[in-house]
Symmetry: C2
Subunit: 247 residues, 2 copies
């Protein structure tokens, strides 16, 4: 990010540049480990000039978080065209791109870790603001998915399926970041399948969910991710008429 | 909890009583809203006597959290007898008992809310200690489930299934607490099904998981929660040979 070019930037352009530089640094290390000097150096400006744009590290950190939250929320936006499974798979690809880019920062933030840089007054309000940002991303994802399902007034069960799946995507990403022991492409597809599976579990006992799921599956290609899953799940079921072995 | 009986308690007995009283109060309201005076009144002792046992509200709050964490972890303990689905269903019953008893406190804590009472020095170390407690409960649940699966050295995929399911149980409980719009008995069963569904999704693409799942299903009674689910899921699958409708 360091550049030798010293052309003059406008105020807003400089602010945006600083936010970008800070976000990259905060993405890879704890806020406590990133100094204003380092941000200044990476942006190719002096330390006093950083303070000209932001009162301190906390405000720069909060601005970086806001940008990250907006970026992540936008990754759930997807044209409402084609089969749902393929749309969701593209969204998961962009979601894991984000997680990949911001790994340590994403992990610390979602685990309620060092969301607030130390030093200065204790700011529980910053912790609350951070939680509000995380919630805003979850809400944006929720609204997007409902729009794709073409449901305006979700039942409590549909809301549970969608919201709990969003949380499953978060925890899957966090577990993946801890060692990256499973290829992310597999997890992206797995999460699409998980969505279908959670919906199917709910549908197995709720007629409204069953109707919605049938509607989704009717639009799925026979070689799409949803259809492949159901075929494989059915293959796991015990053959009818063959009693299960005693435990 | 207030009692008119004024018999003398031993030091440890009194400490445990105070922790119990505090936990009940912190379970239903934010730590900021609970005063030492109120804790003293509920315990039937004077305010100075509370300070004789605990230096302040923060230390009492932390002790209450530790007890709650230990209590929650113990609810995952279950004899390793009988079909796995029924065992998991009993665990989920106790889990939701806990969530029911400690609703607002559980919700605030898991959402990274007011984990630290305001006032006094800011204690990010308390926030870290709180996160460590939450992690210890998750880890205890994870170890318990692996023991039930009789797996000593879990693969990365099995670890993902179990850990992400534990997080799904948390988010399902949190969503349930927000309005209680779905009967909790339904959600307890649904989470058992979700476990099977997540395992089945993983098994559909991983031979080791498939082997484990077949082993579990072989021990399941035909009228158990797992078998019922697979039958219902299979019924949702499109009939073979009938191509899906065009989107």
């Amino acid at each position: 990010m360091t550049t030798g070019v010293r052309r003059r930037m406008g105020v807003e352009e400089r602010r945006q540049q600083l936010i970008g530089v800070a976000l990259e640094l905060f993405s890879n290390r704890s806020p406590d480990e990133v100094s204003i000097d380092e941000i200044a150096a990476a942006a190719g400006i002096s330390r006093p000039l950083v303070y000209h744009y932001f009162p301190g590290k906390l405000s720069l950190y909060e601005a970086a978080l806001r940008r990250a939250a907006q970026d992540l929320a936008e990754r759930f936006e997807e044209p409402q065209e084609g089969p749902l499974g393929a749309r969701l798979l593209r969204v998961m690809g962009r979601y894991f791109d984000f997680v990949d880019e911001h790994g340590p920062g994403f992990s610390a933030l979602m685990r309620g870790g060092p969301a607030v840089p130390a030093g200065g007054a204790c700011s529980m309000s910053t912790a609350s603001a951070t939680n509000a940002l995380i919630d805003s991303v979850r809400q944006a994802a929720y609204v997007q998915i409902l729009a794709h399902l073409r449901v305006a007034a979700p039942s409590a069960r549909l809301e549970l399926v969608v919201r709990s799946w969003i949380s499953l995507a978060e925890s899957t990403a966090l577990i993946w970041l801890d060692g990256r022991r499973i290829p992310r492409s597999e997890l992206q597809l797995q999460l699409v399948h998980d969505f279908a599976a959670l919906a199917a579990v709910s549908a197995a006992y709720d007629e409204e969910m069953a109707g919605l799921l049938r509607h989704i599956l009717a639009d799925e290609p026979v070689d799409g991710p949803f259809a492949a899953l159901i075929t494989r799940l059915a293959a796991l079921a015990p053959s009818p008429g063959v009693p299960a072995a005693a435990g």
